[in-house]
């Protein structure tokens, strides 16, 4: 990035005389042309800085974590006593990573809630799979179009297979 210390502050209307002399609100906010002396002019944009996708970053992390764990396991095996007294330590104890920290899936049974109103939904409509609270809601469901039913299901996270 070229050094920015040399550009003037942009309050003077010296570019085009026809422009308004007072800058607009957005221009007042803009700090594009303010001096930034604290930046290192010799620092070049590292190729690593290309913005990576979230998925690639996470897979990369996972790969590295697995490699680390392998390495530690092999080390431990190498250091084991002849009568195998080395305690089996869970590597996760020492190496929490972004993915190992994630909460496990729920073991509690999921609550049954009406997809339309949010109240209790003990019944399920066999045609669309929507849960409903009572008869009147069922009448409403019968009148829904296929896309509307799919939208309701998507809000719950159930994505029906496209036939």
């Amino acid at each position: 990035m070229p050094p920015k210390g040399s550009t003037k502050r942009r309050l003077a209307a010296n570019d085009d005389g026809s422009a308004a002399s007072t800058p607009t609100l957005a221009e007042q906010f803009s700090y594009l042309h303010q001096p930034r002396p604290f930046k290192n002019p010799h620092y070049t944009k590292n190729v690593n800085r290309r913005t990576k996708n979230l998925k690639t970053v996470l897979t990369q992390e996972r790969e590295r974590e697995r490699a680390e764990r392998e390495r530690i396991r092999l080390e431990k095996e190498g250091n084991m006593d002849t009568d195998g007294q080395a305690p089996e330590q869970n590597p996760a104890d020492d190496l929490p990573t972004y993915s190992s920290i994630e909460a496990p899936p729920s073991v509690l049974p999921p609550g049954r809630y009406c997809d339309i109103t949010g109240l209790e939904g003990p019944y399920t409509d066999p045609a669309t799979g929507l849960r409903y609270h009572d008869k009147s809601i069922y009448e409403l469901i019968k009148g829904l179009s296929a896309t509307a039913a799919k939208d309701y299901l998507a809000a719950r996270g159930v994505n029906p297979i496209v036939k």
Partner: protein, 725 residues
């Protein structure tokens, strides 16, 4: 919607334009090496020197925008983006959920921070303490370190976890007592919620857990629910507006199933709603005054009259034309004797008969037209005479026979028309007689007549309902009606009425001889609408009209149309309907069940489709890895922090969730941070003011040796890729 109640209507807040804040003066900190504290949050960036009591905050978004009119490039940060509407599309944030990905944006954000702190030295000559997420991915950390050390040349950089620092701030010991508090920190962030245990003042990061549900996911969930509830809402609801709704109207339910059971009652549902009024534009109705209306009516009548005059004139002209033609033909006939055949051929008539025929036609036309002009009404057809019919065939020649056939046809047609007319008259008389009878009955006994009609009405409605039910049943493959239909089809195909022998010899299929056979097609063909349906609806209409006109107790509500479109009281309370022209009403959003449904997703993420354990379960899992004594120490100080923790009723709900899973004699105490949003920064500033910062930060030399990923392990930082001090 009853006018008597006070409805909880809140208008959407008007966002004022942001104001420019001038940068601070640097003089206070020049050459003093005051530590710089940066809380790099997913929503807000908070920064400042460790000696200030509050940080400067800004939304953590950056936009590089080129203004189209003046063609000037702009770089905007945080609230400044609101100043330029086109910049919002170009806004980029360094965070994607919980992972720092976009380093250009981060660089620009940090530039803004340093500019506004007034730094004008060639390097940022202050030790820096920055936040990162729980067990942040090493990629993010490496690039942040690279940015800080290479671009800004800071002398040292320390990373910490924001919620632990907030805990520190709220449990700060007075020196020289070291920090040895125990506690369970529940951190509510924008894109995740984490549970971190602390024992002896040290964060045990390996036992911490993170739920992928935070404020942004909750906002999206609420937006989805609102869109499903109001699919035809006139304006677009933005994420910022939804987040405002989440912060102001939603709360945690202390006992969710009990609350749902209570809200089943439509009255309670109505009472619990909050209405958000979106901006709307009243349509301008052109009110025509009386005189304008009168003028318009006059103009229409004038036009009508003029058209009539024009029509009359053209008729007159045609009449005159016809008369002149007749004259011409008559003169032609007179001259017949005098002229030769050649001249005749010019006129186009072959012989006398054709000429006579043409003359007769014209004469009759003229007569009719003249009579119409004179009377203005239809003429009675004189019974035309058919003289030739009675003459026997033998007497006539060829032409005469043709004439006779023609006359016979004409007579048949004439008689048929007479018969039809008489039939119509008869029917009319019958109908009048019936109506008169009904009126008499009505006058005599209104109640009896009304009940008779009502029974008819009910019977028709029942028939319609039955038919609908049968139609619905036919679509279901396994229903009895559908199976009966299949049986009849199979029977038709088998057709046992024709014995096998005859079929082989090409025997005839006697299917259609019996009229009842054709009825079977009505049963089989499900798609064709049967005429019965239309008849039923027509009858229903007439019955309803009569009832509406004469029976005072039968109102519009009882008609079939309104009965079938009636919504239940529950649906009406859940999503009240407004009349067609009510523009104000149509731009309202009623939040009733959503107020509790959305925050409930923190405790049951499966409600929103996230396959993860909820907060209660995760806390239980985290606690399970400790011994009982340690558990006791942890739950005595459950600490809640983070922006979303300000949603009301969180603490009672946590209490209700945790109390059952702990032994009854264990004391449970839940506490919220004094300032859930800024306390993390304050904790970092407190820590930066002590001597400890020097020990835990990575210096430039260490960075150059180890690279960007390795940090020192200390009580407030992450453990991944860390080395013990």
């Amino acid at each position: 919607m009853s006018e008597g109640e006070t409805l909880n209507i809140t208008r959407l807040p008007f966002q004022p334009l942001p104001s420019v804040v001038p940068p601070d003066s640097y003089d206070a900190h020049r050459s003093k090496q005051t530590p710089l504290v940066i809380d790099n949050g997913s929503t807000n960036l908070r920064f400042g020197f460790a000696t200030s009591s509050t940080p400067r905050t800004g939304l953590n978004v950056v936009a590089k925008y080129k203004e189209r009119r003046t063609n000037k490039p702009l770089l905007l940060f945080g609230e400044g983006i609101e100043a330029e509407s086109g910049a919002k599309a170009q806004a980029k944030t360094p965070w994607e959920g919980d992972v720092l990905l976009n380093f250009d944006a981060l660089e620009n954000a940090l530039d803004y921070a340093f500019i506004h702190l007034g730094i004008d030295t060639p390097t940022v000559d202050h030790p820096v303490i920055m936040t990162e997420r729980l067990s942040s991915p090493l990629h993010s950390r490496a690039l942040t370190s690279e940015l800080m050390f290479e671009q800004y040349a800071v002398p040292s950089l320390a990373y910490c976890v924001d919620s632990v620092m907030s805990f520190y701030h709220n449990n700060i010991p007075s020196p020289p007592i070291p920090f040895t508090s125990d506690g369970l920190v529940v951190s509510f962030n924008s894109a995740s919620t984490s549970v971190i245990p602390l024992l002896n003042g040290k964060g045990i990061m390996s036992h911490a857990k993170r739920i992928p549900w935070g404020a942004t996911q909750a906002t999206e969930f609420l937006l989805k629910l609102v869109q499903l509830k109001y699919p035809t809402f006139p304006t677009r609801v933005t994420t910022a507006q939804t987040s405002w709704m989440l912060q102001n109207f939603c709360e945690f339910a202390i006992d969710y199933p009990a609350l749902l059971r209570e809200l089943k009652d439509p009255l309670k549902l109505r009472a619990s709603e909050r209405i958000v009024q979106f901006p709307f534009i009243l349509p301008v109705i052109e009110e025509k005054t009386e005189e304008e209306l009168a003028r318009i009516a006059e103009r229409k009548k004038e036009q009508g009259r003029k058209l009539q005059e024009i029509a009359a004139k053209s008729r007159m002209e045609k009449l005159v034309q016809k008369e002149s033609d007749l004259q011409h033909l008559l003169s032609l006939r007179e001259r017949r004797e005098e002229e030769s055949k050649k001249d005749w051929a010019e006129e186009g008539f072959e012989n006398d008969a054709a000429l006579d025929g043409a003359i007769k036609k014209l004469e009759s036309n003229l007569k009719r037209a003249r009579k119409k002009e004179a009377d203005g009404e239809d003429m009675e057809d004189e019974p035309p005479s058919f003289p030739l019919i009675d003459v026997p065939d033998a007497d006539l020649d060829e032409d005469g026979l043709k004439e006779k056939k023609k006359q016979r046809l004409l007579r048949a047609g004439y008689e048929a028309r007479e018969r039809a007319r008489k039939e119509k008259e008869r029917e009319r008389e019958e109908r009048e007689a019936e109506e008169r009878k009904e009126e008499e009955e009505r006058d005599r006994d209104l109640a009896g007549w009304a009940t008779k009609l009502r029974k008819e009405h009910d019977a028709i409605i029942n028939k319609i309902k039955d038919r609908n039910r049968r139609k619905a049943a036919l679509t279901d493959r396994k229903s009895a009606a559908s199976q009966a239909r299949m049986k009849s089809i199979a029977n038709l195909a088998a057709d046992e009425r024709v014995p096998k022998k005859r079929r082989k010899n090409g025997g005839e299929d006697m299917f259609g001889a019996d009229d009842a056979d054709w009825q079977i097609y009505r049963k089989i063909n499900t798609t064709a609408p049967s005429s019965d349906e239309e008849d039923d609806y027509a009858n229903l209409q007439t019955v309803e009209q009569k009832l509406l006109a004469y029976d005072p107790t039968f109102t519009a509500e009882h008609t079939h149309a309104s009965l079938s479109s009636q919504r239940s009281a529950l649906m009406q309370a859940f999503r009240p309907e407004y009349a067609e022209g009510d523009v104000e009403g149509k731009t309202r959003i009623h939040l009733n069940v959503e107020r509790w449904r959305v925050p409930e997703a923190w405790f049951q993420p499966s409600m929103a489709g996230v396959d993860s354990a909820g907060l209660g379960e995760v806390i239980q899992t985290v606690l399970a890895r400790f011994t009982d004594t340690e558990k006791g120490r942890l739950v005595k100080n459950v600490f809640v922090t983070g922006g979303p923790s300000q949603i009301p009723n969180l603490l009672p709900r946590l209490n209700a969730t945790l109390r059952p899973i702990l032994p009854p004699e264990m004391p449970l105490d839940i506490v919220r941070a004094a300032d859930p949003v800024l306390d993390a920064w304050r904790g970092m500033a407190d820590f930066a003011r002590t001597d400890e910062l020097k020990r835990v930060g990575v210096t430039k030399a260490e960075y150059e040796e180890w690279g960007g990923e390795r940090i020192k392990r200390w009580w407030g930082g992450n453990w991944n890729a860390s080395v013990p001090i």
